[in-house]
Subunit: 204 residues, 2 copies
DNA sequence: AAGTTTACCGGCAGACCTGATTGTTTCTTC
DNA sequence: GAAGAAACAATCAGGTCTGCCGGTAAACTT
């Protein structure tokens, strides 16, 4: 016969996970404005009391959701194995990886939080360090894929990061377009065009 | 002695203008989530009754704010005279024009509405036609600046629009970065780099 | 095994916010 | 100039959302 109840730590972990996942769900499906703690609790199958016990305020819940989200996003990007295929197409592969990461529903949730954070100082403060971490990790992943030797403590080389950040910003624009129901075919054409240009400019 | 009260039409026009401007103000300053009809009325110096008289529902107010906003945005873009300077720098000028248009506070408000519209069918429906109009007009402006003969009823030439839409999406990504307090210097560098690439790829 | 801490429950109150409704004043029209 | 329409004012009612609080039971501590 199994234990009738989990250990405290397990319970905490499980409940927090349920809440954070439900939060992300709500952000994707309802958007930040319509996301209420009530609905989050309903989806998580957790009482409002429990929610408040783990995350005292809504802002706190959201702040933790960000970290949860970024962790998942980086994981999904790391999935695509950064095996450095030979050839000049590594730039194109890097772009594909970024598109994979930034075009899914996870990035939709992140976008909601970004926009909300613009006018919410508390949320903004919580996001800032996590955002920096995401940027750093993305840069590392990109360089790994390009086959560069990653020397973390080396002085910054902004030149090196140009293709990365051009791509990231373009992709964020495309992600926005996708959110609004733009034409997927045209998005692919644009991404394809960018890959061609990027390979020609930065490749090999 | 002047008329103690304006004519009906003038009053209507003025009140609507006040309300829509206040709405945009709220969107920029508070974000969509925290924008309430109450606050809009307060800023516009108009009673809630008046607001409801002109825009029955909040969604209707927002929907009209979009049009108001896009009109202003196009006006601000048209300001920059599309005088076709000679030389291959016309592409760079076009990019500058787009950046001018899409990087101000107007585009912040538009962004708020876009994100809100993702999960609000009514708002989404209202935005769709206006969005298409914006896209069409932007394309025309861009072509004018490039010195192309604009032949409106000509069959679509997607090839021609590649540099435009690559630029627009990149700029939207950069605008998002600006909203979140990214580094302005790096944004300039990225835009500069893109101009160089675009001129080399599409210029002259 | 008693006491303490922790996780969780569910109701409550205060603060908005939105849409509706009724009343008042001024313009317009006939 | 009288009737009707339009612009506006002000209050009301219904709903939702958030944060708080007292209570319970299980898990940990000693």
């Amino acid at each position: 016969m199994t234990r009738p109840r989990l250990t405290q730590q397990e319970r905490t972990e499980r409940t927090r996970e349920l809440l954070l996942d439900a939060t992300v769900d709500c952000l994707v499906e309802l958007g930040y404005a319509r996301t209420s703690t009530n609905e989050i609790c309903r989806r998580a199958g957790v009482s409002r009391g429990a929610q408040q016990h783990h995350f005292a305020t809504k802002a706190e819940l959201m702040a933790n959701a960000i970290e949860h989200l970024v962790t998942k996003l980086l994981a999904s990007m790391s999935e695509h194995p950064p095996s450095s295929l030979p050839g000049p197409d590594r730039v194109a592969m890097g772009i594909d990886m970024l598109w994979q990461g930034y075009s899914g529903s996870l990035s939709t949730a992140v976008m909601e939080l970004w926009v909300a954070a613009r006018t919410d100082p508390e949320l903004r403060a919580a996001m800032h360090p996590i955002d920096k971490g995401l940027a750093r990790r993305t840069s590392e992943l990109f360089r790994e894929m390009l086959g560069d030797q990653v020397a973390p403590d080396q002085p910054e080389q902004p030149q090196k990061d140009m293709p990365l950040w051009l791509t990231v910003n373009l992709i964020r624009g495309l992600a926005l377009d996708a959110m609004l129901g733009g034409d997927p075919v045209r998005r692919d054409q644009l991404l394809q065009e960018w890959k061609t240009i990027a390979v020609k400019t930065y490749g090999a």
